[in-house]
Amino acid sequence: MTKKLLTGNEAVARGFWQAGGKVVSAYPGTPSTEITENAAHYAELYAEWAPNEKVALEVALGAAVGGARSMAAMKHVGLNVAADPLFTAAYTGINAGLVIISADDPGMHSSQNEQDNRHYALAAKIPCLEPSDSAEALAFTELALDLSEEFDTPVLLRLTTRVSHGQSTVELSKRTEQSIKPYVRDIQKYVMAPAGARPRHAVLEKRMLELSAYAEKTEVNRLELRDKAIGIVCSGAAYQYVREALPQASVFKLGLVNPLPKQRLCDFSAAVEKLYVVEELDAFYEQQLKSWGIKCCGKELFSLLGEIFPPQIKTAITKQDTILHEETPNLPPRPPVLCAGCPHRATFTAIKKLKAPVMGDIGCYTLAAGPPLSAIDTTVCMGASVTMSHGLAKAQENAKVKPLSVLGESTFIHSGITGLINAVYNQAQITVVILDNSITAMTGHQHNPASGYNVRSLPAPVLDLAALSKACGVEYVKTVNPFDQKALTAALKGAQEFVGPAVIISKYPCILLPYVKRDKPLFVDWEICVGCKVCLSIGCPALSLKGTKTVIDSSQCTGCALCAGLCAKKAIYGRDNK
């Protein structure tokens, strides 16, 4: 056996491989993305990027029904998209094991909300495991597949950012091959029309009772009896924080977080003097404990918001005052920015001139919401740009300008396309701008159906976004290079004047892609620069103000010349062109 330092995500991929897994389907999303990237490195596994999480879960379900151990991985909000198959897969059950990974993001390090996906396990009535470090991430992934087969149910594995992206030591084992189970046609089990679904609901309820009994005996729910003055119920990252903060306290560590081991928790509460529940986000355990009449203390002491760290646990439970150490206040913040040379910046520069409402979406381009660009009015969920501008246009019927929808190609394929079909069908007055940078950039460069490569970077068919838009019935479709500002501005103007939905594909590859050529850096001629600061309005990190004039950082400048085009005095140019 070898010991290695792995991230939780690497450990999940490893656990899936060790357990004889076969099929992985996923859509990227921080902090879950590296699970699939790592799974793709194992030759025995079939891994793919799906266009969205619903597709991913259904593919994995099909593979599980087809007899192969399977996994679907996503970030927490991805499970909203995949919720439809989730709830009914709980009815049908599986054939070979199916594990669904939900990587939650308490603290919203890179998410639009911090929903607590343990609720999904409760609502869909499926078992949920929650590891607290990488070793458990590996072991629980293996266990999830075993449980899935033992109880004939999909199993949810809930991670959080700190477990997904934290590294700790893991013992590696070999792969245990699993033979593919025969596919057996079983209409009563898999056709969930009412007649078939009613008996399956009964099966589901019976299974939950069996799982509750299992929860009472499984070793992943662990009693750690130490000083009995304080007893703490916890799981996941919070378990590590509790051990750090109060090493002497007794702990009931939950590994299986749904269904809960009611009897063992009652016994624990009786064994300790004072019972606390330390859980990030919602009062998921606390409410259930209280509903059983167990007295405990949880959200009176701990926030429903964000993460809970050891100092807060110590202060809240021991009532000791601790000195607060905070980062130095009043320093300039360092927010993430669109990179120098990013094609999105060029698109927004042209869009801003339209002075139209801009319904935004989720991707690198969301960074354009911040100053100085401030070019996006809304960001809700993937695909919502297309649909919300249609709704906005219906509400603001007498507005002079069409609202814009701005979204990346990965987001368009994920869930923008249905909105576009709706826009055509219902005669929306909107302009949809697809920012096609040939990659899913925000989550760290994953391929997608429009990029021409698959998860293993092997060539794949390229989705033609213009043809797709036309096939949906959009009559005004233009593809332009955003760095050709004249062409883009003309295309946008045409789209705004066009009656009916229009689509503009603003196409230029992400500047961070290795094959993208950079031009020579530009410089500012101080003889000509009048210090008007117009060039600074695009928020390029290569440009800064030095005294009253602008300078360009040649180590960052990619020569995209967007700033040069804005300069009325023509003070920005390349060393060679004058």
């Binding site: 330092l5 890179s110 950012t161 934290g166 590294q167 700790s168 924080y241 050891p310 150490h325 905070e326």
Partner: protein, 193 residues
Amino acid sequence: MSSITNIMIAGVGGQGTILAGRIISLLALKATYDVKVSEVHGMSQRGGSVLTQVRYGDEVHSPIIDPGEVDILLAFEKLEALRMLPLLKPLGRMIVNSQEIPPLPVLNGSMIYPADIDQRLQTFSGSLSLLNAYELALQAGNDKAVNTVLLGKLSQNMAFSLSDWHQAISAAVKPQFEELNLRAFDLGAAYDD
């Protein structure tokens, strides 16, 4: 808990903080310590502040360093060093790249980059090494080697042997960058302040 070493690595997205964390954790693992590392990727990669935390010792639970418990701060940028200063132990150690990378609010003139960072860092009660790792990296052959220069400086007061450092670096970087990084490390390790 004093048997645990807490190292915080602060910098700007794209500077190679994650690699520095990986090299330190490989060394700690080889020395048979229990090791935990925490980092957050995603949004913050695009030129924002980034933080990697490495903890090692006999038994480590939390991957996160409590504020005020940082033994060593490895700061890849001066403003980021100042930001993290209050999180250090009073007798902690700070290794700071004196390079200035202005954040967006400074670039566009809406805020100013503090001019007194050096003085404010000097008030630190522990030990401070301020070096121009950017220059040293260029000297080694590439500005991308800022991280290994800083690791070289860090190595001066650590229990790991020079050959272990070299091995960990060779294991963590791509073969084509091995020589560059070893050179950069040696420059940092030889730097006297």
